[in-house]
Amino acid sequence: MRPSFEPRKSRAGLGLLLLACVTIITLDARHGEQSSPVDPLRTAVGTVLGPTERAATSLLRPVTSIPEYFGHVDELRDANRELAADNAALVSQLRAADANAIRDDAVAGIARLADTSGYDVVGAQVIGTGPAQSFSRAVTIDAGSHDGVMPDLTVVNADGLVGRVVSVTTQTATVLLIIDNDSTIGGRLGDSTELGFLAGDGSLDGDGTLELSLVDHTESPVEGDDVLSWGSRGGAPYIAGVPIGEVVDVRSSPAELTETAAVDPFVDFSSLDVVGVVTAVDGRPPADQAVGR
């Protein structure tokens, strides 16, 4: 590297540290989906940092709401509010007007969710967000194994499906958002009950979309269709009937037989705050339901 005015021990130290890094990476990477030897360390750090993150979030709420404030100061504020209200009204009108028997089912599902009679929901707050530099769309919530949260549970908020729990500590849990590149969800078109798969595009800002590809090649999605979760098999992470988003753009390529559609998620991932973790459906853990026990 550079002329040797640096003491020799400095380079030995560097070598040692690099070796340590590579060792940790190797240990953690080799184990893939199974539990890795680094996990206890991860849990330990989470146990320390969970409460710190929670405290920082609540202490600095007045400061962190500043960007919102600036976005709202001028006349834009009023116009924005009006448009948002109009939009919300129109969207709910649209969804209500379209309702058919199948959708009624779905709506009943959401209603169950809302009054928590069917779903047991643990409320939680988002206390940390992964940076884009890490290329992963995950957040920390302030509910953990202590509150009955386990990996592979569904996370929702008032608007729809948020993601699934991937790991927990006693006080916190990490939620992989459905817009993560690594996330695939089974979805069902609200109007035709067609099944499909939704993949995230990893973008966190407002215009992030999910990509929907239908299982049945002869069917094509229609703009404005709502997409609900289909529920996963074998105890896998998603419960059925949670609204995911709305089809905004249908693309067909002559090269491929399938048509894909862009789905705009109902949940605004750039301002996630209060979410719910579904710990039980009709009094039973979701995993039991999925395997039909």
Partner: protein, 170 residues
């Protein structure tokens, strides 16, 4: 001040930095990119105490960033990036006196190296979500944001490091 007390203070500094980065600055993100405060701490360590020490601080800070929720990438990737950043900026510092433009340049270079090495290890390990396009998208924003925060963060951390131990050896 004993070595233990100094170590404890730096540990607290690192935990506080990572907390701020994850829980507070995430609200001020640009396209999801958050300023890398931990990286600024490592560079401040390099400015005051040289490559050896900065590499050690980089290892510790990187490891906490790797393990702190909601991180779910392979552990050790940020640690590797920060060890390299700490060591290289420490070497660069040994060549010149600390000036304002010099520091800004060092932060820009450090942010570039840190983010690139992290992305590269992701590519090598085939981590989900990492590809060259998104890395190129994130890089300039990350570098710019870190440079933007340099005047606010670096002087404070420099002051702390100088208080901890007067820079007699470096």
């Amino acid at each position: 001040m004993t070595t233990y007390v100094r170590g404890a203070i730096i540990a607290v500094l690192i935990v506080a930095t990572v907390t701020l980065q994850v829980s507070v600055f995430s609200h001020f993100s640009i396209n999801g990119v958050v300023p890398d405060l931990a990286l600024l701490v490592v560079i401040a360590a390099a400015l005051v105490r040289g490559p050896n020490y900065a590499a050690l601080v980089g290892f510790a800070a990187g490891l906490v960033l790797d393990l702190a929720p909601p991180a779910d990438h392979t552990a050790g990737r940020w640690a590797l990036s920060f060890v390299l950043v700490g060591y290289l900026t420490g070497l660069a510092k040994a060549d010149s006196d600390t000036t304002v433009p010099g520091t800004l340049l060092m932060v820009a270079a450090g942010a570039f190296i840190g983010t690139s090495v992290f992305a590269l290890t992701g590519l090598v390990l085939r981590e989900p979500g990492v590809d060259v396009a998104s890395a190129l998208e994130v890089l300039p924003v990350a570098v710019g944001y870190d440079v933007l925060l340099t005047p606010l963060v670096i002087p404070l951390v420099l002051l702390l490091f100088r208080r901890l131990e007067p820079a007699e050896r470096w």
